[in-house]
């Protein structure tokens, strides 16, 4: 399938920018078959990567060093993990923490003893350490205080843990940061994507390190149980192992990325929307596909009924979603053979149901048409090329702003409620934080994230300039107003993309960073969103995904993972 050719052929049927780029809708996206974790696991399984535990030097408490060696059709890699004893009171999910239960690195090639010692000196220190360009990704994780001891005690007693207890949490470890793309001395993304085809998709190294972390967590708990109770311990049942994911705790640090990497994010959205347009307009809802759809609606109903969160808003959103899914099933059943395209369903959903339900329907539609969708995974990488078109007339630039940034021009930035939120970097590890004028210091040091306000400033300057120089062009405008260089470059660059900007005022008093986090995490492929405030969210990665021992065998879909049936697995 020729990616670009296909993109242009379907372009007219894709959803409009103003609909797709609305932040509330983006904040209602669900993981899909095109999510990065799903793509990665498909490659691992299809290409039958070999993943071996080369070193597993752990003491009875599970502390020590592990190295997993990975062979792909293209290269060899090493996953190096250090497990240390950590007191409960030292466990902290924030970026500002300095110690963790587990720290790890994904490395190029085979790690020898000298390199291992260098990693041992640096990886456990995370941001305070340095690695080199042979390392792709660095991460750390903390034990789930709720679940780890319980599961271990059960295994030691010769029993499988209760699946209901597992479902309450969903993971043994929670990663609190995953670094890549040149941070802390690691390989630059340009190196990874040109030299290592296995990881030449967005966040592939970061997703893979989390996949191996999950595998280690399962291997480690079996190891500790067997060491502690050699006579009575049982190994964790494979069905339960697959139901364990890896926890993730994501705060504000992720939010600026989508704004600062606008071209790349636009590409992700365009890829997803292209897939959706293919399915909605070109796929025939045959009886077989409709049955698949119903199966997934039922699965989704169970999945969201099993999702645990203490956040009142998310509880309500999940409740509405589950209720509406019943209506979706009924509506599709009643249409029977009158359903000629999936667009009929999507169009009805838009008029009838919540954004959560609309976007879940889209994820399900894509799931049942992999033949139209999955090849697009190769279209989500892009080399950003921010550029100025110096010869564009200023009249045309004004028109461009009015057409593509009308949403920004509609905001009244003189109203304090539209401009008194600000994003800044803290002295503590440069952590991004959100402040409010009058309540927090630092507004004069804010990051330039509110694109809408900068566009408004540029537009006002442009209108004034046009009055004095009606026949001018962009380069002369910039020579008169050099302070507008950055935003003009952004406007001209992003306007080349079908889905240009996230349509939200990030300086608004009621800004919802959670929507940015949820959007990005949906592209990653996480499930079980559990917001802990409007600033951070817990979620689960890889729940239901195949284990490394499943590679080379058949495996079940892990879209919308469910609790396994464990009747015969009890002790």
């Amino acid at each position: 399938m020729g990616g670009q050719k296909m993109l242009s052929a379907i372009a007219e049927r894709m959803r409009p920018e103003e609909e797709v780029m609305d932040l509330t809708r983006l904040g209602s996206l669900h993981s899909s078959t095109l999510s990065f974790m799903r793509t990665l696991v498909r490659h691992i399984m299809k290409e039958e990567w070999t993943i071996e535990r080369r070193v597993f030097n752990l003491d009875d408490g599970g502390h020590g060093t592990a190295i997993y060696q990975i062979a792909t059709p293209n290269d060899t890699f090493s996953f190096v993990l250090f497990s240390e004893q950590l007191a409960d009171e030292d466990r902290n999910d924030r970026v500002i923490a300095t110690r963790w239960d587990l720290t790890m690195a994904l490395c190029e090639g085979i790690v020898d003893d000298i390199w291992l010692e260098d990693l041992r000196r640096n990886v456990p220190r995370q941001e305070a350490g340095r690695v080199d360009a042979r390392v792709f990704s660095l991460s750390r994780a903390n034990r789930s205080s709720r679940l780890f001891s319980y599961v271990l005690d059960e295994l030691c007693a010769g029993r499988q843990p209760d699946v209901e207890r597992i479902a309450e949490v969903g993971y043994l470890y929670r990663t609190t940061a995953v670094y890549g793309s040149g941070k802390l001395g690691m390989a630059d993304w340009n190196k990874v994507c040109t030299k290592f085809p296995d990881f030449a998709r967005p966040y592939a190294p970061e997703m893979f390190i989390c996949y191996l972390l999950r595998q280690f967590s399962l291997d480690q708990i079996d190891h500790i149980a067997k060491s502690r109770a050699p006579d009575s311990a049982v190994a964790l049942d494979d069905r339960l192992k697959r139901f364990f994911g890896i926890g993730n705790s994501t705060g504000l640090g992720m939010a600026p990325y989508l704004v600062n990497h606008g071209e790349l994010f636009s590409q992700w959205v365009e890829m997803r929307e292209t897939a959706l347009a293919q399915v909605l307009h070109k796929a025939t809802p045959t009886a077989w596909r409709i049955n698949l759809f119903h199966d997934l609606v039922k699965r989704a109903t169970k999945h969201f009924a099993q999702t645990r969160t203490s956040d009142e808003e998310q509880i309500e959103r999940n409740r509405v979603l589950v209720a509406e899914l019943a209506e979706v099933g009924t509506w599709v059943s009643n249409r029977n053979d009158k359903l000629t395209t999936w667009f009929d369903l999507s169009d009805h959903a838009k008029k009838t149901w919540s954004l959560e339900t609309q976007e879940l329907i889209h994820a399900i539609c894509m799931e049942i048409h992999p033949e139209l969708v999955n090849d697009l995974e190769d279209n989500c990488t892009l080399v950003p090329k921010p550029s100025v078109d110096p010869a564009m007339t200023t009249a045309r630039l004004r028109q461009l702003i009015e057409q593509r940034y009308d949403w920004a021009l509609e905001i009244d930035f003189s109203d304090p409620s539209s401009s008194d939120a600000f994003w800044y970097r803290s002295e503590e590890k440069l952590e991004p934080r959100l402040g409010f004028v009058g309540a927090d210091p630092g507004v004069e040091k804010q990051m330039p994230l509110p694109i809408g306000r900068r566009v408004r400033d540029c537009y006002d300057a442009l209108v004034e300039d046009l009055a004095a120089h009606p026949k001018s062009d962009v380069i002369h405008f910039l020579l008169r107003r050099p302070s507008q260089k950055s935003i003009v470059r952004r406007i001209q660059t992003m306007s080349k993309h079908k889905y240009a900007e996230i349509r939200a005022n990030l300086a608004d008093r009621n800004v919802r960073p959670m929507d940015l986090l949820r959007c990005k995490l949906a592209f990653f492929g996480v499930s079980k969103f559990d917001p802990r405030s409007k600033l951070w969210v817990r979620n689960t990665m890889y729940q239901g995904a195949p284990l490394i021992d499943d590679i080379g065998k058949t495996y079940d879909s892990w879209f919308l993972p469910l609790k396994p049936e464990m009747k015969e697995a009890g002790a």
Binding site: S181, K183, D188, S387, R433, W536
Partner: protein
């Protein structure tokens, strides 16, 4: 120590922002300094750390202009401030004229212009740039569509001032540029250093592969230059980020 391209871009950007430069200028500084450094043309080594503030004032002065030529007075500003504007002006004029010449006068760090010229060369035009500094005379020329230039330097140490003039020539006609380059470069008997585009590309790729070599002291100084844009932390501000 070695740092990645991504790290250097981020650190230079923060340092220039910390020095008070405007957003478009610190974005440019990050790209230009990193590109020159990776090319082996001494970008990071050329600037002062912490970076100097925006000395040239907000507005470059367009001293002269016709269809094919222009002179911009940078007012003592960094190339990171007005270099990209000069390059874009040369590009725009090169589109409508057979050959365009733009001079950026009275600017600091002229060697950093290479990154600006690379961006416009990548759009398919033939570009050259010339400047003089305390070491001598320098020139770069890009083939149309090229990322990396051919570079030459003629050693002629002088007591050059803090600022220089850069001459940019841009054309869609390679024959015209070849003439211009040969006239500029012909200095029989001069102490001449040359680095070809493949050599420069090799340096760039090696820096990408292994990281960019910097001293620990320089790196720490660069990162320390970001302090003016960071906000002191407090228990209250910690709540504005996530879990406590």
């Amino acid at each position: 120590m070695n740092v990645s391209r991504n790290e250097m871009i981020a650190a230079v950007s923060r340092a220039y922002e910390g020095a008070g430069h405007q957003i478009g200028d610190y974005e440019d500084a990050a790209q230009l300094v990193t590109f020159s450094q990776m090319c082996g043309l001494g970008g990071f080594e050329a600037i002062t750390v912490p970076p100097a503030g925006p000395k040239g004032g907000a507005t470059p002065r367009l001293v002269f202009e016709n269809d094919a030529m222009a002179v911009i007075d940078a007012g003592g500003a960094d190339v990171c401030e007005h270099g990209s504007l000069a390059a874009h002006l040369a590009y725009a004029k090169g589109q409508t004229s057979c050959i365009a010449t733009v001079q950026l006068a009275n600017c600091r760090y002229p060697a950093l212009i290479v990154g600006c010229l690379s961006l416009i060369a990548q759009q398919g035009v033939f570009v050259s740039g010339y400047w003089r500094d305390g070491d001598g005379m320098h020139g770069v020329s890009f083939e149309g569509g090229a990322v990396f230039p051919h570079y030459w330097r003629i050693d002629a140490p002088t007591n050059a001032g803090e600022t220089s003039t850069i001459t940019i020539i841009c054309t869609g006609q390679p024959a015209l540029l070849a003439d211009a380059v040969s006239h500029q470069a012909e200095r029989p008997g001069a102490q001449r250093l040359e680095r070809t585009a493949p050599q420069i590309a090799g340096d760039y790729n090696q820096a990408l592969e292994q990281g960019i070599a910097v001293t620990k002291q320089e790196w720490e100084a660069l990162n320390a230059a970001a302090w003016p844009i960071l906000v002191p932390s407090s228990d209250h501000s910690r709540a504005g980020a996530g879990p406590t």
